[in-house]
Subunit: 188 residues, 2 copies
């Protein structure tokens, strides 16, 4: 079947967006990883800083290496604070998240990145590992042409108000509720 | 700061999931691309078949090449049927979507893929480019250990009922509603 030639879109006005991906469903970090694939296709440079994950292996750690040097990933967390089986006290989670804030500011101010992704920062803020004024300060630091992506459930209303694009990923159904274990490549 | 060693999770029972990503918000195809990053990290093999896109360049077309040979992408569509500016008649969109169904069945039955992603099939079904019994037949063909991911808005209730995990991506806000043009690396 004859296929038409591809059209190339070019925005007249380049704008650095604030994108928030929140909600209780599966697909927030996954969506941020997908943005990295797209950005790599344009030769853009991306920094991902994970605020809460970091104690469990996930395929993204090796998969993302295939997108290097366009995409850099920093795991700053010690897993999900407060969930069953996570052995670290609040103080340690907070200290790690505070390191992540410091790194986020450095990355944003470096001028080297087209996109900075702060993975799970919304949830980290909700759990008081990061303070809301710190998140607002990060938003203030964003250079006009840099895109900033904030993922994680329970995004603060102030953050949503400041964002250009906000998606809420809602769980309609999840396999684990039917007793199916998390599966490689899909769940982690 | 001392970081703990990573934990490696291994499901006792491997199950091939049916995952549906629907809703009107940004992040459905993006999420499917993110799954490809994860799957590549495990050395898994993924086939993505796009049912409706295919007339406009998007960064994912080059970005996904970085995940080759783990991930293969086939563009089968002629852009979004019925949206402003799309010049192709319904008949052509339907013919393309029907080719996509044929390819999807081949891929699923080949036994070569750990994950098959049918991008925009939900929307293609809603727009009658694909018939619901065809989608249900595809679900019947799925080998037990292969994951099948169906993206696109307006997923049919019958498909949701058959799925293991369903996320609905809701638009809370979108930059284009404030008159901001789609931006490279974020929107396409």
């Amino acid at each position: 079947m004859e296929m038409p030639p591809l059209q190339y879109l070019e925005p007249k006005k380049k704008t650095g967006l604030v994108v928030v991906i929140t909600g209780n469903g599966k697909g927030k970090t996954t969506s941020a990883l997908g943005m990295c694939v797209r950005a790599t296709g344009y030769g853009m440079k991306v920094s991902i800083i994970q605020f809460m994950k970091g104690d469990m292996y996930s395929g993204e750690l090796d998969g993302i290496k295939r997108l290097a040097p366009n995409v850099e990933l920093n795991l700053m967390g010690k897993g999900f604070c407060g969930i069953m089986g996570n052995p670290y006290p609040y103080k340690e989670h907070r200290a790690n998240a505070q390191e992540a804030v410091k790194l986020a500011k450095e990355r944003i101010l470096s001028g080297k990145y087209d996109i900075v992704i702060l993975d799970e920062i919304n949830n980290a803020c909700h759990l008081k590992l990061v303070d809301l004024p710190q998140v607002m300060e990060i938003l203030d630091l964003k250079p006009p042409l840099m895109h900033l992506v904030l993922t994680g459930r329970n995004a603060a209303q102030e953050v949503i108000d400041r964002a250009d694009t906000v998606s809420e990923v809602r769980e309609i159904k999840h396999a684990y509720r039917q007793g199916i274990e998390p599966q490689k490549g899909i769940d982690y």
